[in-house]
Symmetry: C2
Subunit: 592 residues, 2 copies
């Protein structure tokens, strides 16, 4: 069985030493309860639950998968999942970040994302069942009428019900404007009858909760064509009256579940809506906009999925490399008393381990930094600060989602590679991480979609407001440490990269004016490029604070070593991306 | 079902237009029968067999997998595999490259690798059953006594029997010096009793052939410790006398088969030798050296596996991108009569397709070039030419194996990504290629082992003889086209890269003298770096001949476009690898 230990020491480093997040959170609305004692208690309790309850079900859940019974249209989750969910509800975890008015604990996202990282590290497939309850809750909070919140939000926060997001249709994936599911007025005033087929619906049907709240995108009868004619509806599995009473089964049913490369413990459903009763949420035809307000949280959540797999794969890879004996170090035996040296002595094995560590720890700090922006954006009492945080967040979201998921594919690859042939064998459990990781670059918007959001929307349409703030922060950091010789190896290259990043962005803007295809030609490289520089900033900051941190001596050294590794071995990837972007659309001719 | 069409047009381009391989082969010993008519006939016949017989069994073989019956210790291959093997034998394919004296057709490897590419594209898992018959045949040809060749080689060439290579043990993978399997003198003069457990034995047990010839590495009683005490034995599944008569079952049995991430139709066996009767091949204690003489062919074979998956994934990805409608081109509708544009209009989709094409076609040319060196090495009448070809081949083998398998992981990733969510669903068949590809960077020596072979052995120990020839060839090419303006965009950058490559190699040599760990620190980056430059040479050559080739007009344009794409978008990856190598061992500190 693969191991998992909640990385609480590094979480505390990132929260307290690197970001000072506890102080920031304490200064926000509702922050009076926030202190290290509380945070540590949450992390330790979450660590126990995830290590002891969810992690042991990860491999068995993958091997068993979900069961679909066509006759009853029901889905049975893998053994133990239902019991674990009951414990999760009992522990009060579903409402961690929800408002107290609806039964939640109102804790900041910055704490929530760490709990989420643990859940996904422990058991990514299991984590997809509560996952979209959060998205549904957000949508209800922001767009629903008060009675809808009363009726639907409370059971979601409590965890008695779970939520879904029903967007994709066979002909409409990245392009939701093509969707065909439609609604007509229902018999009861204020209800709608929704009909159509949705695919790839995560947790669309399962046995963990007593009801499922589907948020469905569909067209009203008078809807304009395309993405401006989409409305959002609540369609519960069991009908729910305005009084909150659960009634008969609604006309929505699971048609089948997908057989997937990985994430096998998660039920990915075809959902058939056959005149199912639902309620409109928010304004008619504004469903896509409403969906977009949930997007930041949902995309950050998938970025965390990437991070979580990097972390768990690293833990196992590191343990294996310490134990596995094979060959001698090139410069002579390191463990002459053994039959061979542990493979961790080989430089390229170290390269694979350090790559994983650089992205696990750097990625964690990045996610936390983004979550902190989201808390500031929602809870600061200063309007200018709120606006700024929103802009930074908007810029960082596609990077968190796009980069950390792509890197999770890379890092789970490295972890497998360190296992040699054993990495390919299901019994060792490491190949599951690679299969599970592979969906994260696809769902909730592919890397290509994230890249267009970053370069096309966040940079071009919004004049790069978020980027300007980040460049300002990087410049301020470099300025503050200009005289610090010990940091010169980080600050110098970081300043050069920031300048190039800024120039490149200007240049791409000019090119896009003469040909919008230039955006598509550069977008994915721009996402990687930007992500690597943001992580360089994080690693430079890490190097600056590690020595003064609460980490033990070995941990401080490891931070500095990893920062050096990042600058020496990872950051140079920017050169390749930069050259690719400079070649422009001309390098991407038509393909026949 | 996924599609597969043998890419005969591109094979002919690479053979005839790019490499002039038909003329070269015709000039070698036994080459009088070689002409385009013969080659075309072989390719077309192989194309038919692979498209019609093997390709349709690929997805079903993956879904079904192999069956192990513990009671009888037998393995049943997926439905249809046995019948397909019978057709393969009937078609005379097993003996394509074997000497006529043992029933083969004695055709050059350059033709054989194309047939092999087709087999692996059509059905990689099926291809592993005959795969090691070739390795076993090579070993017998080179190292066995005449009676052993008579008895064992002929049935292998005929395809009545198949072969295995039994190297790995639980504690001995990359490091064969640690192996424990041992041999004691048998009751009958000249026989040995072999005992031990081997793991990861491809096609160790199956139902396709009437006997299985295991080539087993084991220790003689007086063997020195480590890799200098290993001998090679023939151990057949059914005992075989010196007269060739098949006798009773030998004391070797399959203990179990592995459950793997992919390649599920291939039986990966634990093989228990329990005093099994065998014959020594070659000299005592020289088994590892004998094994190494087979290594070039075996490693090239795995490189071809990588290539074959790139090709098949590309074919399906391309078809999907032409058909799937999603969003409009950024510069306006391309197919206004349709609900959306085909996704092939989006620049990043083209980037993913062109990446696959650049490596499929460039990789094919690389493999053919290497195979041609191997034919020259074996069959030229000119000793100097033979030696030179052997040196070039030795240098190219770890690149073919290491780079093409790594790139097959990347390219099957791209292919999946172009499918979006459908890429993750087993039904569409594309995710199988990604799972199958993942083993290729591990078995037959991991990428790390290939990299150490390239930089540590082929460059450092052998003074880079192969590299010098290649650099000479590249310089000659650049010289010959120095005045050709149309090729300037390729020749210029290629010359610069070749110079940097040469300088870098010198520099690494110097550094390795002061610290051998520098080799391990640079090796994997050096492998990628060298591979990208070799492929740049191939694409520059392609650009030089495409216009004069037998390709149709669209094919010529595509070659030039792909060459430009390669130089604009792929070759810049060398920048990142170069910077990583320059940072040296210091960037790879100890990991705790």
């Amino acid at each position: 069985m693969t191991r998992y230990v909640a990385p609480i020491q590094d979480m505390r480093f990132a929260l307290y030493d690197l970001l000072g997040a506890d102080a920031t959170m304490a200064g926000l609305r509702g922050g009076e309860v926030i202190n290290r004692e509380l945070i540590d208690a949450v992390l330790e309790e979450a660590g126990r639950f995830n290590e002891q309850v969810l992690a042991p079900l990860n491999q068995s859940g993958d091997a068993e998968g979900c069961h679909f019974d066509a006759e009853t249209a029901t889905v049975t989750s893998p053994k133990g999942f239902k019991q674990a969910y009951a414990q999760y509800v009992e522990g009060g975890w579903p409402g961690l970040n929800a408002p107290e008015a609806y039964g939640g604990q109102n804790l900041p996202h910055t704490i929530g994302v760490l709990v989420k990282e643990m859940i996904d590290s422990a058991n990514l497939a299991w984590g997809t069942y509560p996952l979209l309850s959060n998205g549904a809750s957000d949508a209800l909070l922001t767009h629903a009428e008060e009675w809808q919140r009363e009726v639907f939000l409370k059971p979601l926060v409590e965890g008695r019900w779970t939520g879904t997001m029903c967007l994709t249709e066979p002909q409409a994936g990245s392009d939701l404007g093509l969707l065909k599911t439609h609604a007509v007025a229902g018999k009861t005033e204020g209800t709608w009858c929704i009909s159509g087929t949705k695919i790839f619906i995560t947790a669309g049907e399962h046995d963990l909760a007593e009801n499922i709240v589907h948020l469905v995108l569909a067209r009203l009868p008078d809807a304009p064509a395309g993405s401006r004619g989409i409305s959002m509806f609540i369609v519960p599995k069991f009908k729910v009256g305005r009084d909150g009473a659960m009634g008969e089964r609604n006309a929505v049913a699971c048609g089948s579940i997908e057989h997937k490369m990985g994430l096998k413990g998660s039920a990915t459903c075809v959902m058939n809506f056959d005149g199912a009763e639902g309620y409109l949420i928010g304004q008619p035809h504004k469903g896509l906009a409403a969906m977009f307000t949930m997007m930041n949280a949902a995309r950050l959540a998938v970025g965390i999925q990437g991070l979580s797999l990097i972390e768990r794969a690293l833990q196992n890879s590191l343990a294996y490399c310490r134990e596995r004996l094979q060959m001698r170090a090139l410069s002579g035996a390191v463990a002459p008393d053994k039959a061979a040296d542990p493979i961790i002595v080989h430089p390229d094995v170290r390269r694979m381990l350090l790559t994983q560590r650089a992205f696990a720890e750097g990625g964690r700090a990045l996610v936390l930094y983004a979550a902190l922006q989201s808390d500031i954006h929602e809870r600061s009492t200063d309007d200018a600060e709120r606006a700024r945080a929103g802009e930074v967040l908007g810029f960082l979201i596609p990077i968190c989602k796009g980069l950390l998921t792509e890197i999770s594919v890379e890092c789970t690859y490295h972890a497998m590679q360190t296992y040699g042939g054993h990495g390919y064998i299901a019994e060792y459990g490491i190949e599951q991480f690679a299969r599970d990781a592979r969906i994260t670059t696809i769902y909730e918007g592919t890397t290509q979609i994230q890249a267009l959001d970053l370069l096309g929307r966040k940079v071009m349409q919004l004049q790069g407001a978020g980027l300007k703030h980040l460049l300002g922060d990087i410049a301020a950091f470099c300025q503050a440490h200009a005289g610090d010789e010990a940091l010169g190896e980080f600050v110098g290259p970081l300043a050069v990269h920031a300048k190039t990043w800024s120039d490149l962005t200007q240049d791409l803007g000019k090119r896009a004016q003469s040909n919008p295809e230039e955006i598509g030609a550069a977008a994915v490289d721009y996402l990687f490029y930007s992500g690597y520089i943001v992580l360089a900033w994080i690693w430079a900051r890490t190097a600056a604070v590690a020595g003064k941190s609460a980490l033990p001596e070995a941990g401080r050294t490891a931070k500095l070593d990893t920062a050096r590794f990042y600058f020496a071995r990872i950051l140079p990837r920017t050169h390749a991306h930069l050259a690719a972007m400079k070649s422009g659309i001309e390098g991407l001719p038509e393909v026949h």
